[in-house]
Amino acid sequence: MADTFTIHLKIWRQAGPDEPGRLVDYTLNNVNEHMSFLEMLDVLNEQIVAKGEEEPIEFDYDCREGICGSCNLMINGRAHGPKALTCTCQLHMRNYSEGDTIVVEPFRAQAFPVIKDLVVDRSAFDRIIEAGGYVSVKTGSAPDANSIPIDKSVADTAFDYATCIGCGACVAACPNSSASLFTGAKLSHLNRLPQGEPERKKRTVAMVEQMEEEGFGDCSNFAECEAVCPKGISISAIAEMRRNYMKATFANEA
């Protein structure tokens, strides 16, 4: 049988966007090392519901296998918790031990307003994609897929950037709440491929400007984003984004 233990939690509770929030203490016994962090919160919520004194804790989740990008908790001050390359849903309680105190807060950023408790609104990310994060291709008119060969290393690198799940950890970890890693990753994916080339400059300028409009801060090269990214996306995406942006704006070709 797996070991069970007791943990103490301090969890951010906030009734709504305009309500004040605060950390509330909970103690949970019988935590099992195989539980995911979210399953641990499920168990806590079942206890809260059974007591009937307060509402259960709201938090975002969906796939619980580290790919949808829904889950988004600050755990002891770190986005997605202590384990590198891991989403909150894939963080297991074997990373904690008897008597630990864990502080759980929502991702904080001006551009990510709190909806309730640990749930925040990340639709600013959608608006950045909307500004240009696509290749303009009409359904049904595409040429044969093998008509444009792409160097394997180019395709592989594009893929590395394309793996961004849009969770927002990069923003939450950044002292400036910058969305540069998110935006840069999409640009490094699309701008690198021949399919994305024609719109490269237009895309870069539009996305960068939308990012600023949403209230995300500037990048100051802290690299905290890279450190917490569950998909290991490299900050070289940000350098590429800047290079492309400079070229596009100086050349005034956007």
């Binding site: 797996a2 195989h34 539980m35 979210l38 399953e39 499920d42 079942e46 519901v49 059974a50 009937g52 509402e55 259960p56 709201e58 969906d62 796939c63 619980r64 296998e65 790919i67 949808c68 990008g69 829904s70 390359l85 891991t86 297991h92 074997r94 909806i115 309730k116 609104d121 990340r122 639709s123 959608d126 994609i129 909307e130 696509y134 290749v135 303009s136 291709v137 009409k138 359904t139 049904g140 595409a142 040429p143 044969d144 897929a145 093998n146 444009i148 060969p149 792409i150 160097d151 395709a155 592989d156 594009a158 893929f159 394309a162 799940i165 849009g166 994916h189 491929l193 399919q195 994305g196």
Partner: protein
Amino acid sequence: MKLDSKVPEGPLEQKWSNHLQDIKLVAPNNKRKHDIIVVGTGLAGGSAAASLAELGYNVKSFCIQDSARRAHSIAAQGGINAAKNYPNDGDTIWRLFYDTIKGGDYRSRESNTYRLAEISNEIIDQAVAQGVPFAREYGGLLANRSFGGAQVSRTFYARGQTGQQLLLGAYQAMMRQVHEGNIEMHTRHEMLDLVIVDGKARGIVTRDLVSGEIQRWMADAVVLASGGYGNAFYLSTNAKNSNVTAAWRCHKRGAAFANPCYVQIHPTCIPVSGDYQSKLTLMSESLRNDGRVWVPEKKGDDRHPNDIPDEERYYYLEEKYPAFGNLVPRDVASRNAKIVCDEGMGVGPTGRAVYLDFRDAIEREGRQSISEKYGNLFEMYENITGDNPYEEPMRIFPAVHYTMGGLWVDYNLMSTIPGLFVAGEANFSDHGANRLGASALMQGLSDGYFIIPYTVGNYIADTELGEVDTKHEAFDEAAQNAQGHIDKLLNVQGDKSVIEYHRELGQIMWDKVGISRNEEGLKKAIKEIRSLREDFWQNVRVPGEAANYNKYLEFAGRVADFLELGELMAEDALHRDESAGCHLREEHQSEEGEALRNDEEYSYVAAWEFKDVNGELREQLHKENLEFEFVELKQRSYK
């Protein structure tokens, strides 16, 4: 209720192209006068919304997630099939069609399945043009791999994240249309009812999951792409929010529900570890390309797997199915895993697991090569279990994965309610009784990019659509119905949580409506589900309030629907007194444990019409006979 499949005349190869020529068109300046609702933003819904908007319709798109990019299609790992024959190993559209129809145990419509194979090639072109970074060979051309149930390499993939990359392609195409003003996007909204005016689908009622507000939306056609219902089993590989509500509410408004008992159990999942567990994680089927499945020959052999010599290992798939070996289709692999575990050869703490071993592949190809192919899957496995699959075999067990049943649709993907179209996993149409690997992504995108945009246009051009607004009494009735349901849930104020009911339902479903079924078990399941449902409405506790963000309330509504659907799934499994694909009736199997179909009596689609639910669920069975003009029905054999 009349089931008219509207399959076009003519040879199989020409049905779709002929149909496209006959389809009525809507003039560009008229398209913008029409509103189309698309529910769901996965591969089917996202691609449908993007394509319809691109054509010029006003699209209103809805999803329950906080962003369209999070639909559960994102979790599909292995790949997407197409009959491109790039590897030159003899693939053709016919072969892909044939494998699909045979894999589905001849319980799908020939014409739809052929069209799926035909469109497959266009999907790859479309995705590549969008910048989907598929795996490539050193020469710069696209790479392919093989997948369960096929003897050719026709699967295109983007490492182990093909679903993610294809979904992002569709999502980005959608966001482009949002930017153009052609899509009105509503995230965190749940569809709670369908509005029917003069016999046609004319709108939906939703709940804003943040404010709790019940809202009304009018349209000239509704496209439902809300996914499958595997979460009826509680534990499954589906995302936690995947549910049947939108489809079930349409069913209660008159859309026939077809083949609900066809549920695919995926053979390669990480086994259950405890009762707190919220979901099961799938490991891509592609792992079986290089992983060898085995159990210790001796019952209860508790040695470390690496200490068990080859001659004491039972490579049961390779021994029983020499032609396909570890690559047999999913139903065969799942069933055989259950058989060896039932016989006491299962491994791990629960005895409900088998080994998937990469030792030989690593020896043969090197760790580097295996890591390039499956690295992220290996990491995921290690993360969840704490074991390193490079050093010791993975432990896997079957889990509920995909539902082949769904709302009945005709060749145009229209349900029995005019104006209600159903795409992707939410419909029943292309996979029959079993789905082959890498076919779900293909169907979602085929429906969304290449079928729905034409057939919805045909309907609009061909139908008298009167002026309707959201003040119409049908909207009043549907909105009140949705509100009444919510109030009822909040008013029970019992002492048992929603999750407890869901877990109990799941246990009944898994035990009696799972990998294999029998008459006695199914009858028992029906009784148990009824009494669980009655108990739910007397004793469930839903905390919080309606006019607020309230996840428990959302879940309560979905579990209430699963408690009705579960009975229909058991009812359908009981009436189908044969074995077909993923539906194995224990009464009908060969001496070797293979599924025995009864084509004489059961070669039909079972489409159920909702009558009433009052204590028991009352449904009327309608049959769409499946005619096979072009293929000969054969017993499936993978030996």
